[in-house]
Symmetry: C2
Subunit: 468 residues, 2 copies
């Protein structure tokens, strides 16, 4: 029933879209279409839209969605298209609906500690603007410098600060959503609390563009911590680093702002980067931020150091000022792209396990690396149990087949350990195959029936989350 | 279609229920039925069930729900029946399904900082047990000493510590739910993060028993703060106290564990209670807990004091040890029942507004009090904008009519201020009339369609949230 990407859209439909947003924001030239055919999973999957439409207001979004609804055309909303699960790829063609022109910070209300933004606002820009009001928006995906809040909310992004501050869903108070039939609704309330009726807000957060298009987002803000300091600890084994993370949380009772683990291959890939002199014998490291009142920071930092020393950290670097902190963090932030130095292709997984199972899941990853002779690197938010397992591989069917098999086995292991196949990237197209491995039939059917209820024609980002 | 409470259940149905849970746990004697006819809103609404069934396992709950489903009998799950919105009242009779026998703490997993409990566990007992593992379950409704976790999750309870630690929904990781047709599903994952598919967990949290019966609950725990201290500040006007609360958050940048406001009538009602000598001239007070590392606590406490002094607090009491803290808090916790000293009947509302609107909403309440000559007392969690407005009135239709009118006008005002009619008690039966005042038609229809999808026969706690 859905028009596929093989089928060129009628000129009549294009005319309707032009009436909705203006001629200069409707693109059918191949250069534009190609740009909207991929996200950060580009090496694995691409799909071309038939048309790119760039809306600038709620009314325009609603008008575009109504055109899609009337003509049974698939519509895939997108922001910066930097997702890691294929969430914004227009799998069945149709309309790629770009919301990056909707980039206004509509209100930062300091007394009420809330803000309302449009979906195209880049996360880091919003964090910086909030900071100018001495307020803090904690969700901090690795992509913060280029990803948009609309995308963050569609995927329920996690990021670095989740261990202490929670994830995106914990900060969203209210959403303006254009439903698949073009109606505009508002969920939740611009208050810190409400329990009036069902929690529609969190039904839409993390729904990966499959239930509607966000056009306004209201979030909760908290006071900006006065100080942040960073501890970088080097270890001679991954096991020591994981034990030190345990020590920070369980023995020292510190929940730091960030608790990032980096393994040997990751370290080698960023060696010499940003002027940080990483010791030759470093086989793992922890990067830990502590934040708050300066006295608190000092005290917690000493506790973090203590836990690292007790677990055989052989060198510890402290960064108290912004410049030095940024230098250390820049090393962490470039790991993901730097891993392409190891091999031409990379599959970055974001499994999450109960924290006590981190060693088991990383050891499984390293064991598979040996078995299949595919380099495998681990890093990530181990404070939350959220580990990024990266398979680094080359061109060719044989390599791809190996990695597909390794991925399946990691997923099996994670599920057996009581974990989840995705902690923060979403299912998208990348893990739609694995979702039924984790989610039992009845639960999956309930999810599908929610999709059918809200999007009966299946025009809103079809092919995502669910295989069929 | 639903059997009403006028209609006695067939013996055949009772026999099925007896087979499900055992004869000693199926009650039809009027003494038991009366006990299940009310909650803490007793003075406003009651409804008798036809039968009380006390289940002890998931299998028993599923068997009871299947009997209800097969025979089209309404079924209202309940815990301690201490709710403040009528959520557990069996409005259409049928089965009152008591889950308080399911009171096992199944696991407190300290390394993974998660716990799994049955729904009948009393909140305070769970908090205490977690504390023995040096872990903290922050959601802290005023009813914590007697309400159950199942009830807390059904209503998405807020409570005292919400300003710093969030509410119930922020801690629930996974739920085992018996659906209205008797199938058992599991939502979420026992990990700190997951974004695998739609967020079913938060669809059920706050659904007020209308979508299913919780039989297992997994929550996230955090490290127990090492120290708590309490600041009690007296003011000669409510306005000064509200300004001091602003000063704590906005000028001092402190988000305390609790930030409770108490007005003049509330103070008078608890005067002399618990050995606390409240000054005669006190017209308002703030009760503020700060928690964390001892150094942090000391520093934050001084900042709280500073903000109170700057806003004309004329006396400040500090409690550093548990005994003195408990004495101060006991005064706060008895306010709600103590208000019955003012008048025989009480309507306790839990509106929530953007924090900057607290003065406007309390002034509206006091203005209505004068206009209608009905004593009106305010207290509550003003750090979150969540104010309890209490109408204290007497017997008789005229008094009831006045209070009904006052309630309508408060609701109108709150909605006009951008607030919500319920911050933590839920809609239940008490505010079903007002829900459409707050929630627009399309959003309400979406909520109703979710209900219909999951409970097509409308047997699961019918008559709650939605009027029709």
């Amino acid at each position: 029933m859905l028009k596929s990407k093989q089928q060129t859209l009628d000129q009549a439909v294009l005319d309707e879209l032009i009436r909705a947003v203006g001629k200069e924001y409707v693109h059918t030239n191949v250069e534009q279409l190609v740009c909207y055919s991929y996200d950060a999973t580009a090496t694995r999957q691409r799909a071309m839209p038939d048309v790119v439409v760039k809306a600038s207001t709620t009314e325009e979004v609603a008008a575009v969605v109504k055109v899609a609804d009337k003509n049974n055309i698939p519509i895939s909303p997108c922001g910066a298209r930097s997702g890691l699960s294929g969430g914004s790829i227009p799998l069945y063609g149709g309309i790629a609906l770009d919301t990056t022109r909707m980039d206004r910070i509509l209100e930062i209300n300091a007394p009420d500690m809330i803000a309302t933004v449009e979906p195209g606002v880049v996360t880091k820009r919003f964090q910086d603007e909030a900071a100018r009001h001495k307020l803090f928006y904690p969700p901090d995906p690795g992509s913060a410098e280029f990803s948009t809040l609309g995308g963050n909310i569609a995927e329920c992004s996690g990021g670095m600060a989740g261990i202490k501050y929670g994830v995106t869903r914990d900060y969203v108070l209210s959403l303006e959503v254009v439903l698949p039939d073009g109606r505009v609704i508002n969920t939740g309330k611009k208050t810190w609390r409400t329990v009036a009726g069902y929690d529609l807000t969190r039904l839409f957060v993390g729904s990966e563009g499959t239930l509607g298009v966000f056009t306004k987002i209201t979030v909760k803000l908290i006071p900006l911590p006065a100080k942040v300091e960073t501890v970088l600890a080097y270890f001679s084994s991954a096991g020591n680093a994981v034990d030190a993370a345990d020590g920070i949380i369980l023995d020292q009772g510190v929940i730091p702002k960030t608790l990032e683990f980096v393994d040997s291959i990751c370290i080698d890939s960023v060696r010499g980067y940003g002027g940080i002199d990483i010791p030759k014998e470093a086989k793992a490291m922890l990067l830990v931020d502590v934040d708050g009142d300066p006295q608190i920071v000092k005290r917690e930092r000493l506790r973090v150091e203590e836990a690292c020393k007790k677990n055989n950290a052989f060198q510890i670097v402290i960064a108290e000022d912004v410049e030095k902190r940024n230098a250390l963090w820049q090393v962490r932030r470039v790991i993901s792209p730097a891993l392409f130095k190891v091999a031409g292709k990379k599959l970055n997984e974001d499994v999450c396990v109960p924290r006590s199972k981190i060693k088991e899941v990383t050891e499984e990853a390293y064991s598979l690396a040996r078995e299949y002779s595919i380099d495998t690197a681990c890093f990530g938010h181990i404070g939350d149990g959220n580990v990024h397992i990266n398979f680094l591989y080359g061109e060719g069917d044989e390599q791809q087949a190996k990695v597909d098999k390794m991925l399946d086995r990691v997923m099996e292991k994670v599920i057996a350990l009581g974990g989840t196949i995705t902690g923060e990237h979403g299912i998208g197209t990348a893990k739609a195959k694995h979702l039924p491995w984790e989610i039992p039939r009845d639960e999956l059917e309930l999810m599908k029936s929610l999709k059918k209820l809200i999007d009966p024609k299946n025009i809103m980002n079809p092919g995502k989350i669910f295989v069929s």
